[in-house]
């Protein structure tokens, strides 16, 4: 960490920004090793405390995110509404695909050209906080009097890294159980009563089989991995140790969950070799009756007028309910210079978006803010409230820097098992060992961060 965050280093960074704009990633790396944007932040912290409203001169804030799907227009209209309501704040939103977003934000931040506000997935917050990309929002949380009670507890906790708060929860997006009413009727099932426990679920699958329908296409890719993680928890397995430092999915409970999933393929309830995202397309085409998919799929299926579908909470196949979820969180990025005006205006924006996240819920998300979630307007939305009922049983990957790597290791192993290429027990054991090696390396890697 540089000892002097004064003007000298600032000029240097501006010059370096110019070089970096011209050059490849490696050169960016070359030029911005020292100093670090965090230095600027610490200088900023002595500034006056923030206020809950913004009365200052006109200010423009950059807001970057990865909402390029059906969710993009919903966020854009929220931003437009905010801009109309606030004469002295203009928020400019820019979206790019998440994968690119996660690469370009750190590069932009390191050259001093980053945005003010960003959105991030809950399991990425710790990683980017450790990598000095995020600016702690402790000041924002304090001024807005944000409290855990106002949010779903799991999402609120996930925004903490190293005893500081780096994000404000915007939404929760769990997976749910989508079902096709037409196909259920064909198999002689009650289309208004989707199965909610193991016995009725298996009975429904058998009924489909008799009607010559494959009841539940099992994806060996991300959707299947989210299903496995939910099932493993339902059967009583913990995927990680409490501190998140050990991968613990090599347990008999996790194996039981995986074998149940594999059984669906082996018993013919799912075709083999389901590529990504064939199970969702098959559901959309009215071929696949049961599909465990993310809440965001609502907006994919809604326009299909020929498709008579509903959505329910995940059935409890194991001992007790557990549902895999993700969460979008609002973050502030490190900058060369955060002016008090920008800081204040950003706090106002975050506060406003969280309060008005009903508009975001329409885009297929469960608002993280309890007040919005418990409002009658939210309850009146189609489909989305079903997912809110799952909320207390949702869980996220641990919020540790570098966690994405061990998730990838697990998901790759699941892929091999569900494609019939690998023994489930061996795959779980081997991948847990590999993930522990990766977690160990991550600890070393990020231990030097502070």
């Amino acid at each position: 960490m540089a000892t002097n965050p004064g003007t000298g280093s600032r000029t240097g960074r501006a010059a370096r920004g110019g070089v970096a704009a011209l050059s490849a990633v490696l050169l960016v790396a070359a030029c911005s090793g020292g100093g670090g944007p965090r230095a600027a932040q610490e200088a900023e912290e002595s500034a006056a405390p923030l206020a809950a409203t913004y009365e200052g001169p006109e200010v423009t804030l950059q807001f970057w995110n990865g909402f390029t799907g059906a969710d993009g227009p919903f966020m854009q209209s929220l931003v437009d509404e905010f801009n109309t309501e606030h004469d002295n704040i203009t928020v400019a939103m820019e979206s790019q695909a998440w994968a690119e977003y996660y690469e370009s934000v750190p590069a932009a931040v390191s050259t001093g050209n980053g945005p003010h506000i960003g959105a991030m997935h809950v399991d990425q917050v710790a990683t980017y906080a450790a990598r000095n990309v995020l600016s702690s929002v402790d000041d924002v949380a304090e001024v807005l009097a944000l409290e855990e009670d106002a949010f779903a507890p799991a999402v609120w906790q996930a925004g903490l890294y190293d005893d500081r708060r780096y994000s404000v929860p915007l939404d929760v997006h769990p997976i749910g159980f989508f079902y096709n009413r037409t196909l259920m009727e064909q198999a002689g099932l009650d289309p208004e009563n989707p199965p909610q426990d193991r016995e009725s679920y298996e009975a429904a699958l058998d009924a489909f089989q008799e009607a010559g329908i494959q009841g539940h296409w099992v994806s060996p890719y991300a959707p299947g991995a989210r299903m496995f993680e939910s099932l493993a928890k339902q059967f009583g397995a913990e995927l990680y140790s409490e501190d998140g430092e050990q991968a613990t999915w090599d347990s008999p409970e996790a194996l039981e969950a995986l074998e149940w999933m594999l059984g669906l393929v082996e018993e013919g309830h799912s075709p083999p070799d389901v590529a990504n995202p064939a199970e969702a397309i098959a559901f959309q085409n009215g071929e696949n009756p049961f599909y465990w998919g993310g809440i965001w799929m609502i907006n994919t299926f809604a326009p299909e007028t020929d498709l008579d579908w509903g959505v329910a909470p995940l059935p409890v196949i194991g001992e007790e309910q557990a549902v895999f979820a993700g969460s979008h969180q609002l973050v502030l990025l490190e900058r060369q210079e955060w002016t008090p005006d920008e800081r204040q205006a950003s706090a106002v924006f975050i506060d406003w978006v969280v309060d008005n996240s009903l508009g975001w819920a329409e885009g297929g998300q469960v608002p993280a803010a309890a007040e919005v979630r418990e409002s009658p307007e939210f309850a009146a939305l189609p489909h989305v409230p079903v997912f809110a009922s799952e909320l207390e049983d949702t869980f996220f990957p641990p919020s540790l820097p570098g966690i994405a790597e061990s998730q990838t290791i697990l998901w790759t192993a699941l892929n091999e098992v569900l494609l019939g290429d690998r023994d489930p027990q061996e795959a779980l054991e081997e991948s847990a060992r590999a993930a522990n090696e990766a977690l160990e390396r991550s600890r070393e890697q990020f231990a030097t961060a502070e």
Binding site: M1, A2, L22, S23, A24, L26, L27, V28, A29, A30, S32, G33, G34, G35, G36, E103, P106, V109, S110, T127, A130, R131, N132, V133, W217, P220, Y221, P271, P272, D273, V274, A275, N276, A278, I281, A282, N285, E287, G402, A404, E405, T408, T412, A413, N415, E416, L419, D421, R422, R433, A434, E437, A438, R441, S442, E444, Q445, F446, T448, A449
Partner: protein, 314 residues
């Protein structure tokens, strides 16, 4: 060259006969080279050397402390107990397999296409455009397109094969070797036109008289191909083989988008793994070390090929 000299001479002659021929300042060639040289230095040479430096550290450009670790990033790759090293070598193997299977068809099929397109027939220009057309498409388009065509359960190809009663539900993207067959076929379809165009240019340089003379001597078309076309294309062939080997060894998009590196990590090629390590897991030092190991193999391969071709040319 000759044109330049003669015009310079005539101008000199017109002015004053005694004055020496003006050939420009000694630095003229360097001035012409400068723009490219600058780009080369900034975008290739400096990063290449700087990458070596990165590979000796546990590097993250956003973290202030990037400790020097010496050759650890390299020795780790040869550590038998390290699972990460195992993954790296598996990805190198995947790159090797793809290169091995894709280079022969990418050298042979475009040659056949070029020979056909070099004959005169109606609609020749149209067909030249048709064969080149896929190359214009970006890998993202190719990826999405073939994702739908090759899907084992809901894909177009298996649907037609099923209707024709040939085969059912072949796992084109979810099993090996089917996934390799898919990736190689897609790549051949996609980049065939590029190699064909290079061959075409080479074919047009072979003097017509040679073919006429051979015909007079009673050579059949196979003999003409073998004794005139192929030797005439020797240099072009060397070029095509070299760039095809390098392009195949750098394959990334096809397996990233069509097979997602799967099944498991069977088709996760080296570039994909290195990108994951460096940009996904933020181990830029380790990723840089892997890049140099990959580069080492490519340099050995390229040197071997050149040595072989030199013997062939003699």
């Amino acid at each position: 060259m000759s044109v330049q000299t003669s015009s310079a001479t005539s101008r000199a002659a017109a002015a004053a006969p005694a004055r020496p021929v003006r050939r420009g300042a000694p630095w003229t060639p360097y001035a012409f080279l400068a723009p490219y040289l600058l780009l080369f230095v900034v975008f290739v040479a400096v990063p290449a050397v700087f990458g070596l430096w990165i590979s000796l550290h546990n590097w993250d450009y956003l973290i202030d402390n990037s400790p020097f670790v010496g050759l650890e990033n390299y020795t780790r790759l040869f550590d038998r107990d390290s699972l990460a090293a195992g993954d790296f070598w598996q990805s190198m193997r995947a790159t090797g397999i793809f290169t091995l299977y894709s280079v022969p068809p990418l050298v042979a099929i475009p040659l056949a296409v070029a020979v056909l397109l070099n004959r005169s027939f109606r609609g020749r220009t149209f067909f030249r455009a048709v064969f080149f057309a896929p190359y214009v498409l970006g890998i993202a388009v190719i990826g999405v397109l073939f994702g739908f065509i090759l899907d084992p359960n809901i894909g177009l190809l298996n649907d037609y094969l099923g209707r024709l009663g040939i085969a059912r539900n072949i796992p084109w993207t979810t099993s090996v070797p089917e996934a390799w067959i898919s990736l190689v076929s897609v790549t051949v379809w996609w980049t065939l036109g590029f190699n064909a165009v290079i061959y075409l240019a080479g074919l047009q340089d072979i003097p017509r008289e040679l073919y006429e003379a051979a015909s007079v001597d009673g050579a059949n078309s196979w003999q003409r191909f073998w004794h005139i076309t192929l030797p005439g294309l020797r240099r072009v062939l060397v070029f095509v083989i070299t760039i095809t080997v390098l392009a195949s060894a750098n394959m990334f998009g096809q397996s990233y988008l069509i097979t997602h590196g799967g099944p498991g990590s069977e088709t996760r090629v080296a570039i994909m793994f290195i990108a994951e390590e460096g940009l996904g897991n933020f181990r830029m030092g380790s990723a840089a070390a892997m890049s140099y190991v990959l580069m080492f193999f490519l340099v050995v391969l390229a040197t071997g090929m050149f040595a072989m071709f030199r013997r062939w040319e003699d």
